[in-house]
């Protein structure tokens, strides 16, 4: 359980000067997660919004060591950093315990980075991989990824006269990572900061690989007002589109149960990317989305023994 007073005393790792959009979830999530580390962190960052917005040469917003190399490989890159740490510790060249974090968006995780992620997870490096899932390739102008929900209007799944947005449901990456049987897997959201920070603490404390999938609101891609981002993230949790849970050694546990499961349409209708679905012709897509969320939610509850 995180203590806000204690957290507020933690040195800021992501500091001022970054150029993330107003309302972007990334900065909030990253600061919440890094505040959970009791030890210095070394950060790897995949190509994406977080990378381009925080390290525009000759400036950097990071007060810890930070490295970006490419889009699809942050898990492998941080594997190497952790390997260096192990080697240099063994050879008495460094002493202090350090933590290792990889940040990537959903494009860099669900799609192009999945192989490197799977490899690093299987090898069990002591690192935490955080997917900042805003549901599309936002950095390059809102192209669909395999994290994009069914029906969403993106620039590569535009809502047209024949195709009403993305044709496929999103990939259940958190479950895929849980199937890797790593030390710690969790799904979280910045609206539930205590839940997120507690999960980050568990990830940092784990003696092995941990994976956090965090829903990150994107005003540009979701087409909402910038002051609504945390509220809409909360709604994603309360509609059970984005349930909060964790998996430890094969044990699934729901970490937050909405008092009342809200209809998915409440979340959808507040985002421009779904606006075209609210017509008679596209009602079946709304129905399919709701049915999908219902099925996944029941499935999750079953896994959690509820």
């Amino acid at each position: 359980m995180a203590n806000l007073r204690e957290l507020s005393k933690q040195p800021e790792v992501l500091t001022q000067g970054h150029r993330l959009c107003a309302g972007c979830g990334h900065g909030t999530i990253v600061r919440q997660i890094l505040a959970a580390s009791p030890d210095p962190v070394v950060i790897g960052c995949a190509t994406g919004c977080l990378e381009v917005a925080t390290t525009i040469y000759p400036y950097t917003s990071w007060s810890s060591s930070w490295m970006h190399t490419a889009f699809e490989n942050v898990a492998a890159q941080v594997s190497g950093i952790e390997a260096a740490y192990n080697a240099l510790r063994r050879r008495d060249k460094i002493e202090q315990r350090q933590n290792f974090v990889a940040f990537a968006g959903d494009g860099g995780t669900y799609d192009i980075g999945l192989q490197a992620l799977s490899g690093a997870a299987e090898r069990g490096h002591r690192m935490m991989y955080v997917c900042l899932d805003n549901g599309a390739y936002m950095n390059t102008g809102i192209q669909r990824s395999s994290a994009t929900p069914l029906g969403a209007d993106t620039t590569t799944s535009p809502a047209g006269s024949v195709l009403p947005g993305k044709s496929e449901h999103r990939k259940d990456l958190t479950a895929i990572m849980a199937a890797h049987d790593v030390a710690f897997v969790a799904q979280a959201a910045p609206s539930h900061w205590n839940d997120l920070v507690t999960k980050a603490q568990k990830g940092f404390a784990a003696d092995g690989f941990s994976f956090l999938n965090v829903l990150s609101p994107c005003p540009r891609g979701w087409r909402m007002d910038t002051n609504e981002s945390i509220e809409l993230t909360r709604l994603a949790v309360d509609t059970c589109y984005w349930p909060l849970f964790e998996v430890v050694e094969g044990e699934w546990r729901l970490t937050y149960q909405p008092k009342e499961k809200k209809p998915l349409a409440e979340w959808l209708k507040r985002q421009g990317r779904f606006r075209h679905l609210f017509t008679e012709a596209n009602q079946h897509i709304l129905d399919e989305l709701q049915a999908h969320v219902d099925r996944k939610w029941e499935d999750l509850k079953r896994r959690c023994g509820i």
């Binding site: 210095p40 070394v42 790897g44 990378e51 381009v52 390290t55 525009i56 040469y57 000759p58 400036y59 950097t60 990071w62 007060s63 810890s64 060591s65 930070w66 490295m67 970006h68 190399t69 490419a70 699809e72 490989n73 898990a75 492998a76 890159q77 941080v78 594997s79 190497g80 950093i81 390997a83 260096a84 740490y85 192990n86 080697a87 240099l88 063994r90 050879r91 060249k93 460094i94 202090q96 350090q98 192989q115 490197a116 799977s118 490899g119 690093a120 299987e122 090898r123």
Partner: protein, 393 residues
């Protein structure tokens, strides 16, 4: 005491890695490099090295991991061939741009397609403009020796650039040859310790690596990288000379054979040099003054030195074990002709693309190149700039 042993090229390179005992090795197996990874795995399993060994799931991740480990302050090695090197391609540029002194044996193998496992240089030539230093080896001894020299060059503070140690798949990697191996103490002393000024794990001095550099800074970064290669030649020569002092085996940027009084010469890379020496001897017996240059260092390009060595020739053939599909022969050919341009040298320079996909090259094949050059000089054969040797046309 140094001792004489019989090893395959892969065994010798794995032994070199064992003697270096690097902080981190991240590697993925691929034919014909596989033995290196296997031998090194045994060293790790038997506690003969204290290296952190990362058995990655692809070559892209191998290069990504050693980029991470090198930046974190660890002496780092990987190894690959062919498709593996091609898969790494994106990361090769990043390794050199970030000035990371990674060493990588490249066991030369033809690139697909069609898929083929045997030797040519299409893989490392495909990576010639990635900002890596490239050393090429003729035999097992050179592959072994160049591993240590490569490390010394890479970590030279004037250079801080990754180095490929390229040697021919199967011909060197799998052939058993006698070589001299050094005592581990001698090697340890020669390679010393890796002590980077800045590294990610230095918690008291954190820094950002790999920021976004746009039109206002990118060009300067690349210009500095280009500048490295102007100084790298000194580092290559000095590291090689120091190794020569320690071991008695001396390596230059290139090696010549009966070149000084030669009329016709060829320039070649890799194991074919041995075959070519046989051809030189054969031609000399026939009264043709044949000579040979074996290129060891291709990046940085030993332009002035090569031009000085070949300008007295009456004709030169450049042997390429790769094509560049420019409609004008292989990569070495284009470069050597460019090196000569404007130097006042006017000898005809022709290209023979040979040995692709492991096509065998024997003494008579190389002899036929000399015979062609001899006829060309005597005006008994037409100037044909690009020819393909030993192929069914």
């Amino acid at each position: 005491m140094a001792k004489r042993v019989a090893l395959t090229g892969n065994e010798a390179v794995a032994l070199a890695m064992k003697q270096i005992n690097p902080d981190v090795v991240a590697a993925y197996p691929i034919t014909p490099q596989t033995d290196i990874v296997q031998y090194f795995s045994s060293f790790v399993a038997d506690g003969q090295v204290t290296t952190e060994f990362v058995r990655v799931e692809s070559e892209h991740s191998a290069m990504s991991a050693v980029i991470g480990s090198s930046a974190a302050g660890a002496r780092s090695i990987t190894a690959t061939s062919s498709q593996g090197l091609a898969l790494m391609h994106e990361m090769l540029h990043i390794a050199s741009s970030y000035r990371l002194p990674i060493v990588m044996p490249v066991v030369n193998r033809a690139l697909s397609g069609p898929i083929n496992i045997h030797c040519d240089h299409s893989d490392s030539m495909n990576a010639r403009d990635t900002g890596w230093i490239q050393l090429y080896c003729e035999d097992t001894q050179e592959a072994y020796d160049n591993m240590f020299i490569a490390l010394k060059i890479a970590e030279d503070p004037r250079v801080l650039t990754p180095v490929m140690v390229c040697f021919d798949g199967f011909i060197i990697s799998h052939a058993l040859e006698n070589l001299v191996v050094e005592d581990e103490d001698v090697i340890k002393k020669y390679v010393g310790q890796f002590e980077p000024d800045r590294y990610l794990l230095d918690v008291d001095n954190p820094h950002t690596i790999g920021p976004l550099a746009l039109y206002d800074y990118y060009f300067e970064v690349k210009r500095q990288q280009a500048e490295v290669m102007f100084h790298a030649m000194d580092a290559v020569s000095e590291a090689s000379a120091e190794y020569g002092k320690v071991t008695g085996r001396n390596y230059d940027l290139f090696e010549t054979y009966k070149l000084d009084d030669a009329d016709v010469g060829i320039i070649v890379i890799g194991s074919t040099a041995g075959t070519a020496r046989g051809a030189v001897d054969k031609l000399r017996e026939q009264g043709v003054k044949a000579g040979l240059i074996k290129l060891r260092v291709f990046r940085p390009a030993p332009r002035e030195e090569i031009v000085a060595a070949i300008r007295h020739l009456k004709a030169l053939a450049v042997m390429d074990r790769a094509d560049s599909y420019a409609g004008f022969g292989g990569p070495l050919f284009g470069e050597v002709r460019s090196w000569l341009y404007g130097t006042g040298a006017s000898l005809p320079v022709v290209n023979f693309v040979y040995g692709l996909g492991g096509r065998d090259v024997v003494v008579n094949d190389v002899a036929s190149v000399y015979e062609y050059l001899d006829k060309l000089v005597r005006n008994q054969a037409p100037l044909q700039l690009v020819q393909y040797l030993g192929v069914r046309e």
